[in-house]
Point group: C2
Chain length 146, copies 2
DNA sequence: CTGTATCCTTAGGGATACTG
DNA sequence: CAGTATCCCTAAGGATACAG
């Protein structure tokens, strides 16, 4: 045998989180699923230049196993699928928002100025609004015929 | 030529953040530096089982180049160094707190119950307290003779 | 369109020996 | 103690062809 990997369950919450989305693509996909309402395979592919088909398929599978997304039929087109974030994934909104805010403070453009302004002034409200928005998006995509 | 890598500067704030700490170790090191007040090489090594010396050295170098930490003489022992988080790094506290809170909500033990309770009830206060605590730790380590 | 299946390359990182 | 320097190896991931 090759020197068995330590299967020690992660005691550290940061380690735990990194095990789920601490790679090159997973968090980007989650961001698309949660904040950009990209629920379809092709949309996720189109949004992430450089992402390979096998990698996306793998990440979606893992996220489903971990309970962060649900794979269901597209009500608008029964031949397609939609990947919808679960409550667990939606719970990542505060962390994503803080990450985006930090990058914005470092000078990353592409962040709407009103976003940064709002988060400094009314973070709780912003997060509440975003969460509500996501819920509405999901509702629309669950409704048959949309 | 091998098909030149796109040097496109990252327009996405999540991508930007991941470029800095989107690997297996950097965020763990940052957590130690920021929340655990581990400022010395040996402490960082001891805290992260499996971390190799060359990898830690590399991460510290990158973080210094990126302006997230400052390498200075240890005032308590002029032969040693201390790596102190800068304001930029301290600005990651909200994100780290949200990440930890999310993991705790997923059932990760090792998170003090009062932490989770506090963040739900008084997030702003918790973050303010943590930030203040960090500032005090840094002050103590900057003072000569400590 | 939504994946699977391969193949192949590379960067990340583990182990270890060694230096100031 | 605080790194540097190697060596090596594996897992992650890019490219592409193909299948349901």
């Amino acid at each position: 045998m090759t020197k068995s990997r330590k299967p020690t369950p992660p005691p550290c919450p940061v380690t735990y989180a990194l095990e789920i989305f601490g790679d090159r693509w997973t968090l980007l996909v989650l961001k698309d699923l949660i904040l950009e309402a990209r629920y379809r395979y092709k949309d996720l592919m189109a949004a992430n230049s450089g992402l390979a088909t096998n990698v996306l398929a793998d990440r979606l599978k893992r996220l489903e196993q971990r309970g962060l997304i649900e794979k269901t039929r597209d009500p608008q087109d029964g031949r397609q699928f939609v990947y919808l974030p679960t409550g667990t994934a939606i719970g990542l909104i505060p962390m994503l928002v803080e990450m985006i805010a930090w990058s914005a403070r470092q000078g990353v453009s592409q962040v709407p100025p009103e976003f940064l302004e709002r988060i400094e002034r009314d973070r709780a409200g912003l997060i509440a609004d975003l969460t509500e928005q996501v819920e509405r998006n999901l509702e629309a995509h669950r409704a048959i015929g949309g």
